[in-house]
Symmetry: C2
C-alpha cells in the first residue's frame, strides 16, 4: 500500500513541462489518498553540494537535507521529475542524490568486509522517474547508450536494492504541441495510478 | 601545441587522492610550459545550479562562471578530476558542465533546423578525465555499464565534437596503499606528458 510519497522536481523554468508533470503527479497522488511530500528543488533553493562532513555516515547539518532524508525514509514511493541534461539530471538533483540517498538509511557497507557489495536499504519502496528530452530515441540509445537508465535503474535504485522501478521519457519536447503534452500528462496520471495499491484506489 | 589548459577538480576532502591527482596535473603541465587555469570547485565555492536565464544562449551573470567560460574557450586541453559518485561526478562538477559547457561557445544548434544534430565547437581541443572509484572493474562495466564513459566520451565531449579524449579510472582507492598511489600519480604525469605537444617538451 502506497501511503506516503516523495515527489522531487528539478527544472529552473516555472512554466516548463516538467512543472506540469510535477503538478499532475501531486494531484493524482493526493486524489488517491496519498500523503505527498512534494519538493520543487529550485523553488526551495536546495544546495546540492555535499559537504566534507557528509562524506561518511554522519547525519547532515543542513535542516532541509534532514527533512528530505526523513521523508525519503517514510515514503513508499519516490518520484523524480527532470529533463535530460548531458545524460544526467540537472546538478541540483544530482546533489539531492549525493546528499539525501546516503548511508546508513539508504544503503550501508559491511564493516567487516569493505569489498562486499553494498547492503541496499530501499528494498521495500517503489520508484518512478519522468524525464523530458529533445534527443530522438535512436540517438539516445544507439549513440549515448541511454545513460539515465543506467543512472536510475542500476547506479541509484539497483545500488540501494530498489527493484520496483519504472521510467518514462517524454520526447521530443521542443517539437511537441499542446495536444501531445495533454496526452503525456494523462499518461503520467495513468502510470502513477497503475503503479501500486493506494488508500482510495 | 598545448599552450593553455583548464584543470578542474571536484572533491570535498582536501586530503583526498583526487587532490593529489590535481596537484600532480598542475605541476606536470606547469613544468611543460603550459599556462594552467586550475580550479578546485569546492575551494572556490562554485555554485552548480544553472539559472533560468542560463537556459538559452544568454551569457551568464555569474562572474566566476564567466571566468571559467573564458578559460574553457582559451584552453587547448581540458582536464577533469573527480570521484565516481553514482556513476556521475559530484553535483558541483555536474553543474560546471551545465553552466560552463553551454551554447554558443561549446556547441550550437542550426536555427533553421531544430531537429538537426548539434554543432560541436570544442573540436580542436583535447580532454583528459581522471577518476577514482571503489567499485571493481567487472561490476562497473557488467552491472553499471560504465556510465562515466558514456557521460564524458559521448554525452559531453562527443556532443561538443571533441574526439581527442582519454580517461583513466584509478581503483580500488579504499584498498590502495601509499606505494600504489605513488605509482598512480607517476602514471598521471606520464599520461599528461604523452597526450600532446607542449612548449617545453
Amino acid at each position: 500500500m502506497i501511503k506516503t510519497a516523495s515527489v522531487i522536481l528539478a527544472h529552473p523554468y516555472k512554466k516548463s513541462f516538467n512543472h506540469a508533470i510535477f503538478d499532475t503527479s501531486v494531484k493524482t497522488l493526493t486524489d488517491l489518498g496519498v500523503h505527498v511530500c512534494a519538493h520543487d528543488l529550485y523553488e526551495e533553493s536546495f544546495n546540492p553540494v555535499l559537504t566534507t562532513e557528509e562524506l561518511g555516515k554522519q547525519p547532515t547539518k543542513d535542516p532541509l537535507v534532514s527533512k528530505y532524508v526523513q521523508e525519503l525514509i517514510e515514503s513508499d514511493l519516490l518520484i523524480f521529475i527532470h529533463p535530460n541534461w548531458w545524460g544526467q539530471p540537472p546538478a541540483i538533483l544530482a546533489g539531492y542524490v549525493d546528499r539525501v540517498i546516503r548511508p546508513p538509511h539508504a544503503y550501508d557497507f559491511d564493516p567487516n568486509d569493505s569489498s562486499a557489495a553494498p547492503w541496499g536499504k530501499l528494498t521495500e519502496k517503489g520508484a518512478l522517474v519522468f524525464n523530458t528530452s529533445n534527443t530522438d530515441a535512436a540517438r539516445e540509445t544507439g549513440y549515448f547508450h541511454d545513460p539515465l537508465e543506467s543512472l536510475w535503474g542500476r547506479c541509484v535504485f539497483g545500488f540501494c536494492g530498489l527493484e520496483n522501478y519504472s521510467r518514462r521519457m517524454f520526447r521530443i519536447i521542443s517539437e511537441s504541441d499542446d495536444a501531445q503534452r495533454k496526452g503525456w500528462l494523462a499518461e503520467t496520471a495513468e502510470i502513477i495510478k497503475n503503479f501500486g495499491d493506494y488508500p482510495k484506489k
